[in-house]
Amino acid sequence: MTELKTISGHRGLDHEVELIFELGRQGKCGVDLPEPELKADRLGGLRRRGLIGLPGLSEPEVVRHYVRLSRKNYAIDSGFYPLGSCTMKHNPRLNEKMARLPGFADIHPLQPASTIQGALGLIDHLAHWLKLLTNMPAVAMSPKAGAHGEYCGMMAIKAAHEAHGQKRHVVLVPESAHGTNPATAALVGYTVEEVPANDKGRVDLAALKSKLGPHVAAIMLTNPNTCGLFENDMLEISAAVHKAGAYFYCDGLVHGRRVGRVRPGDLGIDAMHINLHKTFSTPHGGGGPGAGPVVLSAALAPYAPLPLIVHGPNGFELIEDNATAKAHDAQPFGRMCAFHGQMGMFVRAMAYMLSHGADGLAQVSGDAVLNANYILASLKDEISAPFGNGPCMHEALFDDTFLKDTGVTTLDLAKALIDEGYHPMTMYFPLVVHGAMLIEPTETESKHALDEFIKVMRGLTAEAKAGNKARFEGAPHFAPRRRLDETAAARKPILRWTPPPTTKAQAAE
């Protein structure tokens, strides 16, 4: 039976949603404000004339619009995300409640220090936990996201070399690295050289050693790496890097996999950013905000960016300029952004850490690794796993060898997963294997949830191998939108709503 066409275009609870600009009308407002008294202004003759173009809507219309939009989104609260490298874990609501306490949310960054001792205390306490968990002596709190933290770590490395009169211009990056690594290195002014992987999916130690020299400033390594494997030569790598006078940057994307069990400070790492929105559960919010504090070794600690938080006779103080920093034996490389960092995310991460405690955090990393290995073990007989002979860490890597001659690609399988009620796994990353599928379950998935997912993956694989292509062709069939034309979007970009010509003419009157 062909699908029934409704009159409204809606399908039951699945509503079509126009843009606010199409719904709004002149003269409506969703806020009641007192009337301004319209005195002569002090705007220097620059009072805004002409319409801005914003639509007017009442509160009920706005609420309905955004509630309907929300229902078009998949979310961790509604389903499993097998997304490798993304660490989609449960976002506890206690964290939201704590972040909204007026004492944290309703304070201005430049209030006098005496009025925000609790805020500085919280940042200091979080820093303390981060340092202890990583066994590192210092942490820069201000980076606004993971990539920003990476930039911070590399800037500290650059500052350290400059302070020692070292002219080094090359950074080594494994070929399996996330694209942010080379982008960051280039942004900081370095040239990037790639280090190949060995057949065990790890950095080729001999190749690395041969590339080290007096021109190399640092190596940027992800551990566990993007194949989900622990770089077992870590201690040898850090020794070789330091011997060559370079620094060791570690991409902490999946620090959670080791939290409480393995510490970067024990592996010879000089700088590592920590994604509070991954490891420490602050919500992904559809793309942000994040936070990326960077732990630093003793060699790099003096170069941490402004501001610094110190404890003095009057309590906590912020050091916000280079001269004062110098008096405290610090040589900050500069300032990364205005104010002090992502306080809202600090409170959430602190609530998460206090809730879990040292024992809970160790359990987090244990369960995360267990879940990933369970998935690997339950699928590798049917789905090709290039490194399936040993244990993986927090994520399991598969490639598309198992789909050979089926006419079904990694992408097709992923889109069919949407119809099964799942967000697809990470695809085509890392680039070192063909048609990669990277699955990171995290510790907040139950065994039941994993078993359900395994059943679906095995079922889809069987369908592909049996040549039943119908469910893959043109998938997804059951999402609010089917496959979208990304080519057209990139060829002729439409990046905003524009009023139709008649409305513009009216506005000009």
């Binding site: 990304e486 080519t487 990139a490 060829r491």
Partner: protein
Amino acid sequence: MTETRYTKDHEWVRIDGTTATVGITAYAAEQLGDVVFVELPAIGKSLAKGADAAVVESVKAASEVYAPISGEVIEVNAKLEAEPATVNADATGAGWFMKLKIKDTAELKDLLSEAQYNDHVKGL
């Protein structure tokens, strides 16, 4: 007499006297998928062999196009700005990128013949 030669990076070069027309091969265009944008060099720019000459963007990838030989850019295919899809439709004809004034004819011998290029692609 015109002659077409190739590079391992999937560029084709059509030589006509002192002018070389450069584009990407049909194989490259297929690998990239739907081309959405082409960034072409400025006219008058001097390119050394192997230097970044242009960028071709698809939805999922952006690839450098390298100068197959040294030369000065004397013409670019302005049509590609409005119709990047031409690269997919006719990579070796209407989808040409630029014309260079050949600097050193000795460099031409380093280019691959059609047979050599086809062998190279088979091995990928």
